[in-house]
Symmetry: C2
Subunit: 407 residues, 2 copies
């Protein structure tokens, strides 16, 4: 028969198994981060390549594609390490489902690259395809952050997700700016969209700061070259002047380069986040193992101290020491509950994104929109009403009951 002590130790072993799984997921997240950075560069180069009718970035783009292929293999290798046959990975259903979406995007990548190489599609369409792929991969990271069972590691993953998402908005801004400057004139709608991307970045980087260690924040500060920030801000000011402007289209290349410097510096912060996350996982695992060993030793000591034969029955660990075992099991139970409460608090920060996802789903179902269309509709509403995306999404959801059934 399984005893209380068996369960006590088994609970601790479950914690260790969870932490080890989180360490694996963190490696996956790190590989995804590196790959996304590569895809962001590939997206940008493909954009310039297509916009210039193949005159610019031709060979560079091919080099970047080759580099991305290597990083893709690393991500796929990490996916393979997820044990899909055990059916036991925690929150496996949701994580696997996100991975399926991500892999579906990867499978379409060769065809996309072929069409880019043959210049068979406009820059805008190529850019949107890469953006969808990146979004699919970011959703895997989101899921990892949302399903982590350890509050400290969950905090680190939430910080990481927000940083990656903020960096992706920066990448979209780079593409938008390059294309707007390149067109030689920026209208109000373009400016509005640009400002929206700046706001979205700020929201993400704020959340990143809220959940980050001082060490990571210092690395982030150190990564910001004031000269780069100043030049990016100057170009933003020219681009989003608040009235339609005619521009020197050579600014496009200039903007692209400075925006790239800014984004490449972010990649360095991601590396710090990755190392930090790995160390955190290792420290938590080591700590849990030590506690398990101590607990085992204590239980064995207590069991051997039964003062007379048969006393185990009356008070299973000896009458005097019975209280200390009770205190131990109660303390463990309370600690796990406190962790779970803390976790709820960390996860609450992910709610905004979920609200937007739900609103998108609603628009897709009731208005027969694609995912892209639904997102654009929400964004347009937010821009027109000068409200945050999440507030518009909340408003859409609250209208759910009065929307026509559709289908």
């Amino acid at each position: 028969m399984t005893s209380g002590s068996d369960f006590l130790l088994a609970a601790r072993q479950c914690e260790i198994a969870e932490l080890e799984e989180l360490a694996r997921t963190s490696e996956l997240v790190a590989a995804i981060g590196r790959f996304i950075h590569g895809l962001q560069r590939e997206r940008g180069m493909s954009n310039v390549f297509l916009s210039s009718q193949g005159k610019q970035f031709g060979p560079l783009r091919l080099l970047q594609v080759a580099e991305c292929a290597g990083m893709e293999q690393q991500v796929r290798a990490q996916f393979d390490r997820l044990d899909i046959h055990s059916s036991q990975v925690r929150h496996g259903a949701r994580l696997f489902s996100r991975v399926a979406v991500g892999l579906h995007g990867l499978d379409g990548l060769p065809a996309l690259r072929q069409r880019v190489a043959r210049q068979e599609l406009p820059a805008r369409e190529s850019s949107a395809a890469y953006t969808r792929l990146v979004a699919g991969l970011l959703a895997v990271v989101f899921e990892a952050a949302d399903s982590a069972m350890d509050p400290e590691i969950s905090r680190a993953l939430v910080a990481m997700f927000n940083f990656m998402q903020g960096k992706e908005f920066a990448g979209q801004e780079r593409a938008l700016g390059a294309s707007l400057f390149g067109s030689g004139a920026i209208d109000l709608a373009g400016q509005q969209q640009w400002r929206h991307l700046i706001d979205s970045q700020q929201g993400c980087f704020q959340a990143f700061a809220d959940f980050s260690d001082p060490e990571v924040l210092r690395a982030d500060q150190a990564s910001r070259d004031p000269a780069v920030i100043a030049e990016v801000e100057r170009l933003r000011r020219i681009g989003c002047a608040g009235r339609p402007v005619a521009l020197d289209s050579s600014l496009s290349q200039h903007w692209y380069e400075w925006a790239t410097r800014r984004i490449d510096a972010m990649r360095g912060v991601e590396d710090v986040l990755t190392v930090n996350l790995r160390q955190l996982c290792e420290a938590r695992i080591a700590q849990a193992r030590t506690e398990l060993r101590d607990q085992k030793a204590l239980l064995e000591a207590l069991a051997s101290e039964a003062p007379y034969p048969g006393a185990e029955h009356a008070a299973p660990f000896g009458p005097q020491l019975d209280r200390s075992v009770l205190a131990m099991v109660q303390e463990q139970s309370r600690r796990l509950q406190a962790m779970s409460d803390e976790l709820d608090a960390v996860r609450a920060s992910l709610t905004e994104r979920k609200v937007v996802e739900r609103a998108k789903g609603l628009l897709m179902a009731h208005r027969h929109m694609t995912e892209d269309e639904a997102y654009k509709a929400l964004r347009q509403m937010a821009m027109n009403q000068n409200r945050r995306l999440v507030d518009v999404a909340e408003a859409v959801l609250s209208l759910a009951d009065v929307l026509p059934g559709g289908r």
Copy 2:
């Protein structure tokens, strides 16, 4: 290499594994419900036995002890079915930790019964020991409700937990009423405590009603014999008259019998809840298996329809049908997210209890109180201020920062 379809199917298989685990947990919850009912009777009989200096309920109590031993074996057998060695049971750490507390209580039961048989402890102390044991078992049920990953089943478990907890408050009310009537006089403090137990029951039964199927609610309605309710209410009115009263102590036995009728009727509702929960688990498992089969068949059909050799590479499922696979993976991902949101909403109803637990933990740490003392302190504050327990607990937690460090 693991493909997107593999992950899609693996996600579904994870869901099935989770549902099967929930079905097992539900059987454990059912066994705990039966055992708690037995313990509640044993607590009551032990009370009367001790209060009457062994004159009443002597043989009946022994019969009840024997019956409880059988039910205890069933609970232990269910505990044994939890696979503690896989370290993979979802939320295993928290569940196992609760089981450890519960088993610790069970291990102390033989010693408690021996002391009752020898009349070595007062009724109040015996009653408190049984109540602690029941609370430990209810915490296992709470954990099961809190960790269920399927919103429908989580609703059913939340309803069940609240019903069981309400029934336990009814059992405590029975014990309190019997002892107060038995003492021949009821003071204001006793009346206040009595009213608090009535309020606590109402809170639980309201939550039970909020999360129950119409079928369960009908069973609950049908179980309420108006004659029993009327007599219980009449006796409550006499007991909680709002001013100190002198009473015929023979009312004690009378109250005990009518309160028992009420509680025994509740046991029937628990059986309906159990059957309902089992059917729900079976239906959800069958549904998930059908969906998995359909999805498998569809993916195989799509894979075989690649229109020309090599087309799998360009668009992995054939270009026309690529969209339908994408729709399938996105739909699954969105459905799982929606389930998770719904789950958060169901779980939010368990927050009150968690807040009270946290406040208790705080008092234990800062005021060196035992768990019982902390709970009594909170209850006393709630009664004095005429506020709900959860509001007092919130207030205590908000004072956490200004409390002296203690230790």
